[in-house]
């Protein structure tokens, strides 16, 4: 019973940790707008946390620059299992307009397993919520496998 309770709760209380990997700040603002009264992701239990140790879902924005890559990987490795990695915007997925720049090491999927990609420059809040909801499903599945 306790195990089932934990599994159900994992789906309903996903806490977000946001990493900026050299983003232009567009996606960062859109992510915050998801939590505003208009879209109110808190009704699904989403909460933005400040420490990677508290997080369930890691949201990465930006094209993963040379400077940020080691920090991104270090922050992701500090997130306790089960965790889910969501890329937000086209940058971490493909490099977007920064592709083949000398300072860009992306895409992120070269370095870690990415669970959900939310494309767009910047993605609409509806798309972000959709991607995060998908991530909670994956989180529940990961919890169930344990």
């Amino acid at each position: 019973m306790f195990k089932k309770l934990i599994k159900e709760s994992t789906e309903k209380s996903p806490w977000l940790f946001h990493i900026n990997a050299g983003s232009c700040n567009g996606c960062d603002i859109e992510l915050v707008s998801v939590l505003t009264p208009r879209f109110d992701a808190e009704r699904l239990g989403f909460k933005l946390v400040g420490s990677p140790r508290h997080a369930d879902i890691v949201v990465v924005t930006g094209p993963v620059t040379k400077q940020s890559l080691p920090r991104v990987l270090r922050a992701i490795s500090q997130v306790p299992e089960p965790r889910c990695i969501v890329t937000m915007g086209s940058c971490p997925q493909s490099g977007n307009v920064f592709k083949e720049s000398w300072s860009v090491c992306g895409p992120l999927s070269k370095y870690v397993h990415v669970d959900v990609d939310v494309a767009g420059c910047a993605p609409r809040p509806q798309a972000v919520i959709d991607g995060l909801a998908l991530a909670t499903q994956i989180l529940k599945e990961k919890r169930g496998q344990k």
Binding site: L5, K12, E81
Partner: protein, 341 residues
């Protein structure tokens, strides 16, 4: 003589009512209501009422990481010590006419036990070895010191009022304070106790570390400070003790200032003409329900409303506020009580 029934009764007190299970359910329910009400005030839909329960169980299922720089034993023991002291504290607070443990000077025990959760958080944060926790713990210490002075003055004022009415000097027994109230009406009806009651209500958000006094856990600037390195089970226990602290402080307020309702409940139950055992049972149950309702009102007005309409203060502003406005109110009440108003 060793009596099994007494052992069983004590275990029931510790584990079920008014101990762990009661604290767990009501505490998390109160913080769920708090989050929902804040959301409504900000014109949001808000999380479901059971959200703190989901958060708690989810955190129980997460991996617990102990940082390499941490002192492992203290890091893992601190949350349990904090929660345990809160649950013991809850048993010393009478629920109207029902008291689990009663001694000569519970008020002083309560004062000490109320300090332990904050100290446990400071110890745990210090043991985690994180610089964010370092900033958080210095702020938490300042907040604790800021709240402690007016709290002591409020408790002294209450002890003096009840003591002078009973001709005993100072009364430090919670059950005597509550019994006095159920016989002679709530303390809040005394002129001298009104400033103390207001001061106590203003202490509640400071003691529980909610807005605008949450400098120690400022999640937007120092990543929840003391909790920055915690994950999984220990974090869940810390979140739980946060919620239980709201329940503890609001039930302490009810016991200190609204204890007169106990007499009304006893009279109401007595009017049904039941046997003594049944009347005690129903009275206790009714008392618990009334207590939860009152705690709900206190939480909504003094935690949710204050949270929704204020922004976070700086730590020196918190200190100044408590040592001027709140201490002034408590001191006024103490002086009035001393001269017998």
């Amino acid at each position: 003589m060793f009596n099994w029934l007494t052992v069983l009764e004590t275990l029931g007190y510790i584990l079920i009512f008014p101990g762990f299970l009661f604290c767990f359910l009501v505490g998390l329910f109160l913080s769920g209501v708090d989050r929902k009400i804040v959301a409504k005030m900000q014109k949001r839909v808000g999380p479901p009422l059971l959200q703190p329960f989901y958060d708690f169980f989810k955190l129980c299922g997460k991996e617990t990481i102990v940082p390499a720089a941490a002192n492992k034993g203290m890091f893992l023991a601190a949350p349990l010590v904090g929660l345990a002291s809160l649950i013991v504290l809850q048993m010393f607070i009478p629920i109207f006419n029902f008291t689990a443990f009663s001694t000569m000077a519970d008020v002083i025990v309560i004062l000490y036990l109320l300090l332990i959760p904050a100290l446990a958080m400071i110890l745990g944060g210090a043991a985690s070895g994180s610089p964010y926790a370092g900033v958080g713990l210095s702020r938490e210490m300042v907040t604790v010191i800021a709240c402690e002075l007016p709290l002591v003055l409020v408790l002294l004022a209450v002890a003096r009022t009840v003591g002078s009415a009973m001709g005993k000097g100072l009364v430090f027994s919670m059950s005597e304070i509550v019994n006095y109230q159920s016989a002679n009406g709530s303390l809040i009806t005394h002129v001298s106790m009104i400033p103390a009651a207001i001061a106590f209500l203003l202490i509640i958000p400071g003691e529980t570390g909610s807005h605008p006094f949450d400098t120690a856990e400022a999640e937007t600037e120092i990543c929840e400070g003391l909790l920055a390195e915690y994950s999984g089970g220990p974090l869940a226990v810390f979140k739980l003790s946060h919620s239980v602290k709201v329940l503890t402080l609001s039930s302490l307020f009810v016991a200190l200032f609204l204890g007169g309702l106990g007499g009304k409940i006893a009279a109401l139950v007595g009017s049904f003409g039941l046997s003594a055992a049944a009347a005690g049972m129903i009275g206790g149950l009714l008392g618990a329900i009334v207590l939860v309702m009152l705690c709900l009102v206190i939480t909504i007005v003094f935690i949710s409303l204050v949270h929704a309409i204020t922004a976070r203060l700086k730590v020196e502003q918190v200190f100044k506020y408590y040592w001027t406005v709140v201490t002034g109110l408590a001191l006024l009440s103490l002086v009035l009580a001393w001269y017998g108003f």
